[in-house]
């Protein structure tokens, strides 16, 4: 946001200390933390009860409330609170399932937006107020605002702690909870009021139009990662919190709105989680029509190519280190690298290529093995993640180097390239390690199935570059040479 601040230093501690000099940034971080905590917590119930649309609509009625408050000259938060809580009470009184009626909610939502527009047109300072209510203006939170957010958040957390269990049950199995004598009207009202309060304070940071990113998506990510209720709540809070923190942090150093970064981070996380889930369920990962012998053969080729890739990678890394030591002042961009680390590039590029080929061969080998034993479906999945990892590493590195090479003042998108390149690179490296882990697990399981000790040794030696896969190659050769029938161990079903 600052634009004119000191340049990004790549030293996180200096950067953080600089940022926290400003009171508005401290306020933003404090309020953001509380809001993320509350939104992640309440959001879990929103997802469980499938009232995402209701929460969206409550945000919109909050818009007209905030506009009305601006009109009469009080803090928009109070208008938000009053309007959302009245709407929430109305929803609760209309009936248990009213909060899931799309058409009614949509009608009220449109009316609320229109009303907000009217209030704003009556008020003269139209544009900025509307903008900050619709999209959030976290950097404008005052110290008093932080106090208000803190106490409201505390009340929400306390109430959730008290009604956690019955609310969970009523959200999960409404009919049985009703038959068990739970106070459904009370629980429904309590939940919607909690939702109203949470939305009212969350609007400060993210705005009514983007409320989904904090209320729904973190919890949606959490339920896909864990099936335990308490863990899901914690994951949801952590996702919301990291998104807010990272969003504020990036937003401070970049001239783009904080809300965008929060929404963007949450979105990318959701897409990754969903993508992994979809991949897991596709037929693509299921067993193919192939013999186990063919599987072991492609695994032999795969381990050879993996060993070659790692040898190339080690050589490339050594040359890179050497050139970095020799040219300490060299520019850290594509042109600089090209001039002083040509030899390293000559090794690293083929390493990436052969590495992805080896992942691909491993993947196809495990898929063929999966025809006989379900033990090999998860290694297949993990090696697939490895292919994705290498691709993302290369792409992220390209974006990053490109962003650094281009001049930020001439090309406004250059910082964005860096912005997306770095996380892509980190995620890619992480996924590549996951793929490596999948190869090790797969090697171990083949060794177990064929009682081939060298393969199990190879699995352990995977932590050493080159050596592990060289041993694995020998192991697969021995497995094939032995000609042992693949029925050495019965297929586990």
């Amino acid at each position: 946001m600052s634009g004119g601040g000191p340049p990004w230093s790549w030293n996180l501690f200096t950067d953080l200390r600089f940022m926290w000099q400003y009171e508005f940034m401290r306020n933003a971080f404090e309020a953001g933390t509380i809001i993320a905590l509350v939104a992640g917590l309440v959001g879990y119930f929103v997802v469980l009860r499938r009232s995402a649309f209701a929460s969206h609509a409550l945000g919109h009625t909050g818009f007209s409330g905030a506009a009305a408050a601006v009109l009469v000259g009080v803090d928009p938060v109070y208008g938000l609170l009053v309007f959302t809580m009245v709407t929430a009470s109305g929803m609760a009184l209309l009936g248990n399932r009213a909060s899931n009626r799309d058409v009614e909610i949509g009608t009220v939502l449109a009316f609320a937006l229109g009303l907000g527009l009217l209030f704003l047109s009556l008020y003269q300072g139209y544009a900025t107020e509307a903008y900050s209510i619709l999209f959030g203006e976290v950097l404008g939170i005052s110290t008093a605002g932080v106090d208000f957010t803190f106490w409201t958040g505390l009340v929400v957390i306390a109430v959730v702690a008290m009604i956690y269990r019955p609310l969970l049950f009523a959200s999960l199995d409404e009919d049985v909870a009703e038959a068990k004598g739970m106070p459904m009207l009370f629980l429904n009202l309590a939940f919607l009021l909690l939702l109203a309060v949470t939305i009212s304070i969350a609007v400060q940071i993210i705005g009514v139009l983007l409320i989904f990113a904090l209320m729904v998506t973190p919890a949606a990510i959490a339920v896909r990662l864990t099936k335990r209720a308490a863990t899901a709540v914690i994951v949801s809070i952590v996702v919301a919190m990291t998104a807010v923190w990272a969003g504020l942090f990036i937003g401070f150093y970049e001239p783009y709105p904080v809300s965008f970064f929060i929404v963007g981070i949450v979105f990318v996380e959701y897409v990754c989680i969903r993508g992994m889930g979809v991949l897991r369920e596709t037929e693509f990962l299921q067993a193919v029509d192939a013999t186990e012998y063919e599987g072991v053969r492609s695994l032999r080729n795969a381990s050879l190519s993996a060993a070659v890739a790692q040898a190339l990678f080690v050589a490339g890394a050594l040359f890179l280190t050497e050139s970095l030591l020799a040219h300490p002042g060299a520019a850290w961009n594509a042109a600089g690298l090209y001039s002083h680390a040509l030899l390293a590039i000559a090794f690293l590029v083929p390493a990436a290529f052969v590495g992805s080929v080896s992942f691909l061969l491993y993947f196809s080998g495990f898929r063929k093995m999966a025809a006989s034993s379900r033990d090999f479906t998860s290694p297949a999945f993990l090696t697939l993640a490895g292919i994705l990892g290498i691709t993302m590493t290369v792409g992220g590195l390209g974006l990053f180097l490109g962003g650094v090479a281009l001049n930020a003042s001439a090309y406004p998108l250059a910082p964005v390239a860096i912005l997306f390149g770095v996380p892509l690179l980190l995620l890619g490296v992480l996924l590549s390690v996951v793929g490596l882990f999948g190869q090790a697990v797969g090697n171990w399981r083949v060794g177990l199935r064929y009682e081939e000790g060298s393969l199990r040794t190879a699995a352990i030696l995977t932590c050493l570059p080159f050596v592990g896969f060289a041993v694995a190659y020998v192991g697969y050769r021995r497995t094939l040479a032995r000609g042992a029938p693949p029925t050495a161990r019965p297929a586990t079903v």
Partner: protein, 294 residues
Amino acid sequence: MAESSAEPLVSHPPVVSTPPSGPPAIHADRLEVRYRNKVVWRNASFDVQRGEFVAVIGPNGAGKTTLFRMLLGLHWPSAGVLRVFDGAPRRGNPRIGYVPQRHTIDRDTHLECDKLVRLAYPGRQWGPGQRFRPIPWGPRFNLRQEADAAEQALEDVGASDLASKSLGALSGGELQRVFLAEALVGNPDMLLLDEPLSNLDIRRSRELVEVIHRLVQTRGVTTLLVAHDINPMIKCLDKVIYIANGKVATGRPSEVLTSASLTALYGVRVEVLRDSRNNIVIVGGEDDRGEEGA
């Protein structure tokens, strides 16, 4: 049912028919029910003894679910007497376990089965959930009891291996077992099962009926089961409550499921046919349309 000789039922302990001690589990006397101010059925008098396995059958909209809702105290009879374990029906009766027809649980419910069963455990319903200690290193709430009860309930329905699975990942038959465990977790004396077999094929239906029948025998729990097809369970039943045409007929299956008694119930000619495998097919009744399997 001829297949059942090929795959024998699990050997049950010999049933010692304990004479019903005390009042009946359900006592209805000239009961009348209205739903949205329309009489659903009237003048129904029947008793269900303790430990009986009862099927509630009849066409759609006949008022089968309404009977359950009355027993649960969610719907009040408009006339007549209804007693549950010699008391007025009331909401939140811990002696009744209930499996509703429609659950809000579907493919997108990512939560452990174990958790659902635990949540249904009666007793402490308020406050935060598992492993909660108000004071660090202080005493825990009696969660062990809850965990044990949930484990036992899942074991009784043969679903121990589902405990840590996600609800959304279960098949229809597995889900019904978990719901059954959920109803069973507080050791109720009565189970009300609303169409637990509706989405199951014939084999899964029989398996589930077997589980329920075993519960009736070992736990002595009075069980009412709403179903459309009576064939999977006909051998285990003690009683049938047949609701149709605003009237209720009760009695042993062999008494109720006859052409004569159903003709009397519907007021038009109804035929009860039996095929070579002894499956029952009911013809006529609903506007004289053929309606298979009750």
